[in-house]
Symmetry: C2
Subunit: 471 residues, 2 copies
């Protein structure tokens, strides 16, 4: 103690700046440590979860399984065949929700899909049927699928089928329709439905023939290259789309289908920078599904929104959803739209962030930061911040601007709860009124409640287990 008083003081200050500032004003040497208290309400549950001896090995196993998946596109098949989806059955993005609580974009997409399936003559008639409970709704995630924005999948829509060769596990996603007035943003005008018909009658069968002829397409390799080429695979899929086109085109041309159809399909895919999103998403889904159902693991295996609720699922808690109100994204708006037109966060596309892409790979795609009003420096800072709440660095997705460091991958519920840092999600914004379509693009986070709820369930699982062991 006498030593301490004789030497120059060196203050180490954690968290609040008040003390550090005061000490510095008295000419003391101060080292500041970035620190924040845990999320309010997390402390009691953090203790049992962090002291659970299963946690570290369970998370290591979860990460290993996630990184072990090599998603390949193996086919393109109608949803009725791939998922045995029946007339009147519809899948949607996010956690479960009924028509009565469904947001505008989801209602719009369901109305359009019902007309597309021939179940109603008009969107209004479809809404009346939905009101009367004529349709069966289930999350895409419950059937091994994912869907961007409203994420509505109906039996006649064609799906990409992805498979992990080592395990045979599969995942599914619809074909991307492009931007603007499209079903997944809740639009249902005749142009939307005509495009869906062309996609079912021409594009789906043509892609199916091309994949058959070409053989499986290694989606992981394309994703790895995208991160080298300015894409983060959520809001920017430009090079991914071009590489897919390059890989499948010779087989499309030689498929025997009419050259006019092939040319239109090539122009449609080439003219839609987001086409590859619908392969990035099921690739991420496939990786994360491999990490499900590992007792004790605190890894987030799904983040998804239905436009009303934001939900997450965790490796250690089975298929249980932890939900809270979806937030409204902040960003830039298309044409004459503004903040009042945007609905709450929607879509399964946050599966990309869950797997280390999207907002987590923002440093690889500074153009996205510019698109939503930020800078390249902020893009770097966002990715760096996500390392604080993730368990690993992705072995394939390497960021040039970070000296090829792997992206932060594998969100840990306890790290989010301890640091208060919420996952950063890049997203499109749908108009809140059914039928509108896309109104912008921006940034959003999950509501903190979902992590508190997940942590509580993990804590209870630990306690009940201790109870069993001692009983």
């Amino acid at each position: 103690m006498s030593d301490l008083l004789r030497s120059e003081p060196h203050v180490i200050s954690a968290g609040l700046r008040l003390l550090a500032d005061a000490a510095e004003r008295q000419a003391a040497r101060v080292t500041r440590v970035d620190w924040a208290p845990p999320l309010a309400g997390a402390a009691d549950d953090l203790v049992p979860v962090l002291s659970d001896p299963r946690r570290t090995p369970a998370n290591a196993l979860a990460v290993q399984r996630m990184f072990g998946v090599r998603p390949h596109l193996i086919g393109v098949v109608p949803a009725r065949t791939a998922l045995d989806l029946q007339p009147g059955e519809f899948l949607h993005a996010g956690p479960p929700v009924g028509w009565e609580r469904a947001a505008g974009p989801l209602r719009g997409a369901l109305m359009g899909a019902a007309v597309f399936e021939g179940l109603a003559d008009s969107p209004d008639a479809a809404a009346q049927l939905a009101e009367r409970g004529a349709f069966a709704l289930a999350p895409c995630h419950s059937r091994g699928a994912v869907g961007p924005m409203a994420g509505v999948i109906s039996p006649s829509m064609w799906l990409f089928v992805l498979q992990d060769p080592a395990t045979g596990r599969r995942s599914y996603c619809s074909l991307n329709e492009g931007l603007g007035k499209v079903l997944r943003y809740g639009a249902f005008s005749p142009e939307v439905l005509n495009r869906l018909t062309w996609m079912s009658e021409v594009l789906g069968p043509l892609l199916a023939a091309a994949v058959r002829r070409h053989g499986p397409v290694d989606v992981a390799t394309i994703l790895a290259q995208m991160v080298q080429m300015g894409d983060e695979a959520h809001n920017r899929n430009r090079t991914g789309t071009l590489m897919l086109l390059r890989d499948l085109l010779p087989s499309m041309i030689e498929s025997g289908m009419a050259s006019g159809d092939v040319a239109r399909a090539a122009a449609f895919i080439g003219g839609n920078d987001h086409f590859f999103l619908n392969l990035a998403m099921p690739a991420c889904k496939l990786a994360l599904d491999a990490a499900r159902d590992i007792p004790g693991s605190t890894l987030v295996v799904a983040m998804a929104r239905n436009g009303t609720d934001f939900g997450i699922q965790v490796a250690g808690t089975g298929d249980q959803w932890f939900t809270g109100p979806a937030l409204i994204p902040q960003g830039l708006f298309l044409g004459g739209y503004g903040p009042d037109d945007a609905g709450p966060d929607i879509g399964d596309s946050a599966i990309t962030e869950t797997a280390g892409l999207g907002g987590f790979a923002m440093a690889a795609a500074p153009a996205i930061a510019a698109l939503v009003g930020g800078t390249a420096a902020e893009a770097l800072a966002t990715t760096r911040r996500m390392y604080e709440i993730t368990l690993a660095e992705h072995p394939l997705y390497r960021v040039p601007a970070l000296e090829f460091r792997g992206t932060p991958a594998g969100i840990d519920v306890t790290l989010v709860a301890r640091t208060g840092i919420l996952p950063q999600i890049n997203t499109g914004m749908a108009g809140k009124v059914a039928g509108t379509g896309q109104v912008g693009a921006g940034l959003v986070t999950p509501p903190r409640e979902v992590f508190l709820a997940a942590l509580h369930a993990l804590a209870r699982a630990t306690t009940s287990r201790s109870g069993t062991e001692s009983g």
Copy 2:
């Protein structure tokens, strides 16, 4: 002076660190200024050139003309038609050179091209003809063309034709053959010649039909996007190639040519990440040609190598070449090749650096830095260093990692001479023995002599002009 002695000293140190270090050891406040003396031998010529009143407006005009060009791909045509190239005439990369001083890769390419043209039965027979002076050689640059590596263009080869819509000015470049055993790296085996035949009989006519059907392709827009997507348009043209394929494919498919040929062409282009280099180069050539022949301008309008000499041309000195010995690139080698296998720097492709791409846009393509053994930080540093020797920032080529700052564009002979900083060039490496092909990729600079020679000519032009005025 008494004031100076009473107050704390503040030393500003330019250049050498010796004084700054000593002052700092005596606890003086030191501000270091990065400074180096001019290139040895440049001082006498710098004075008249820097004091030439024409220089500033001439360089402003040169930059304005360079940035005003919008290169469009308007056609694909055989060299005999496009350039009126006659049997026995060959164009080559770099400044003028005869067979007797030609490097191995250039000799190999000429031998292969002569067999391809039916002028000789074998590469050896072609060499004997060349030895006897049977062929007429001229630089590509002398005919409005550019060629990568050996850059040999013979009458039967098809060329991209680029045009600036505002002025009607044109530039030309051969079609890219891919990597490895290819003519431009000096290889002439049967596989090389068979590929050239297929390119003349199938690929050229197909691309010509596609461009006719599609209409002009805006090459500048593709280049601008490439810089957002990890390409620097010299050693990396991956996304450029994909975007060209996307743009031309619907027209290729609907050209009426056999679907097998279209599929093979799509696979050939898609499988060759460098295909777009041969559009990037003439786009740069077209921009720089617009800046030629401006008296008093010190802007470099061409940097080119023939494997023996490195040559530059300058806006203020007409078509005069300033040459020095080409250096050997430093980098990484393919397969079993090593430093002893590499020949000196070769190719017209340094036209990309001359226009603000390639090594000057390295910050946009950190993967290239990794390819040649460097880091992303070094890539940023390289681009930043090039701002020291350039007149402007390119309005279209914007680097995400530099907060979308334009690339350094427009090399100024006086800035090179004053700072001693040499332009950084990314390049492929050809085997020095004729027939070898590519052996690696790396970094190189021009020899400093070429800038001293250019500066001297600029100085003489100033002096003779003063003489005229006073006489």
